[in-house]
């Protein structure tokens, strides 16, 4: 069998190897890079879609959170308002109550005073009458004759009032 030179360039081998190289380039491209790159592209698209979904979900969550916070704030404000209104009402009511109570107390006091005054007057009048009677009796006994109460009422009253003033 013939052999070629150990070191040398054989034109046909040279050409064939250029052809082989480009054939290999095509085959590698067709059978390794194309399917792998397509698959990687698909995977990237999937990952992108997932990221998009995640971002959307996050946005939604943020929106929900904002809404929730706003609601909470509103509720808080409302609660504060309610409390404040209640406080105000309570204050007004208590003031009113106090006022009423003091008024009532004053009224009671006034009534008691008037009652006392009346009682006192009544008592004075009773005493006056009694003393008057007694005086008339004493005087009757003294002068030994009947003094007409009606006739001398004015005199007796004058006397008693003088006594009252003196007492």
């Amino acid at each position: 069998m013939d052999v070629q030179e150990l070191v040398g360039i054989v034109p046909w081998t040279f050409i064939a190897q250029i052809g082989n190289l480009f054939l290999q380039v095509y085959l590698v491209k067709r059978f390794l890079f194309k399917p792998i790159n397509e698959m990687l592209e698909k995977r990237r698209a999937m990952a992108d879609a997932e990221i998009r979904d995640a971002v959307k979900a996050k946005d939604e969550a943020i929106a929900m959170k904002t809404e929730y916070e706003q609601n909470m704030l509103e509720a808080k404000n409302k609660a504060n308002e309610i409390v404040m209104t209640a406080q105000k009402t309570a204050a007004v009511q208590s003031e009113q109550l106090l006022l009423e109570a003091s008024n009532q107390a004053a009224a009671m006091k006034a009534k008691a005073e008037s009652d006392i005054a009346q009682e006192k007057r009544k008592a004075v009048n009773e005493i006056k009458d009694e003393i008057g009677g007694m005086a008339v009796e004493i005087a009757g006994k003294v002068i030994e004759r009947e003094i007409c109460e009606e006739d001398h009422a004015k005199l007796i009253d004058e006397f008693i009032s003088n006594v009252g003033e003196a007492s």
């Binding site: 070191v7 034109p11 081998t13 190897q17 082989n20």
Partner: protein, 252 residues
Amino acid sequence: MDLDISGAKVFFTIPFDFPILGKLQVSETIVVSWIVILLITGICIWLTHDLRVENISKRQAVAELLVEKANSFVIGNMGEKFRYFIPFVAALFATSVVSNLISLIGLRSPTADLSTEAAWAVVVFIMITYQKIKAGGVGGYMKGFTQPIPLLTPFNILSELATPISMACRHFGNILSGVVINALLYGALAVASSALLGLIPGAVGDLLSQIPILDVGIPAVLSVYFDWFSGFMQAFIFCMLTTMYIANAAEG
């Protein structure tokens, strides 16, 4: 004993003399190259069948790793705009590695034939020149030879031509040296084992001395360097130089 280290065997010759090109000879180099192509393509098809987007198999992980490595190698050395070079560089590397390693199964490496490396180097050289002309125009390319002073023009032409020659010869030399050293080692060990076993007296010694017992195992140690290390290294260097030269050429 004689030791014969020769070039590629010629399997088939078309007995017609083409002008300049000579007779068309189907040599061992060409046949083994076809085997290499079939092997690489078969591996590619095997790696990429049944691809899935998620829950991938180990096989697919290897395929993806290879593609990613090729991408990062080419884009790292040449930049994003040379993305279309990825299959070329990958094919060059794969062909080189498999050609270098196919000697392990007893076939003659296509890379142990200067024609192979010369073909690759010339392709790369044409790409370099194309990128240079594309970057600076024909005028700019021609003018580049007279830089920095016109006196240096012959040296510039020489250095330009030295690029493919050095690329081809570096790769070829490394692989051929492996072939030669392996052949010498096998021959030497055969002689040594024959001498050693010939010490046994009588017919037994004569019979055993025919068996080159020392050829088992020992050459594998050298094969680690000359086939595995050198095979990967030269393929890597060739691809590295290819990417570097082309990227530099495009910068103008």
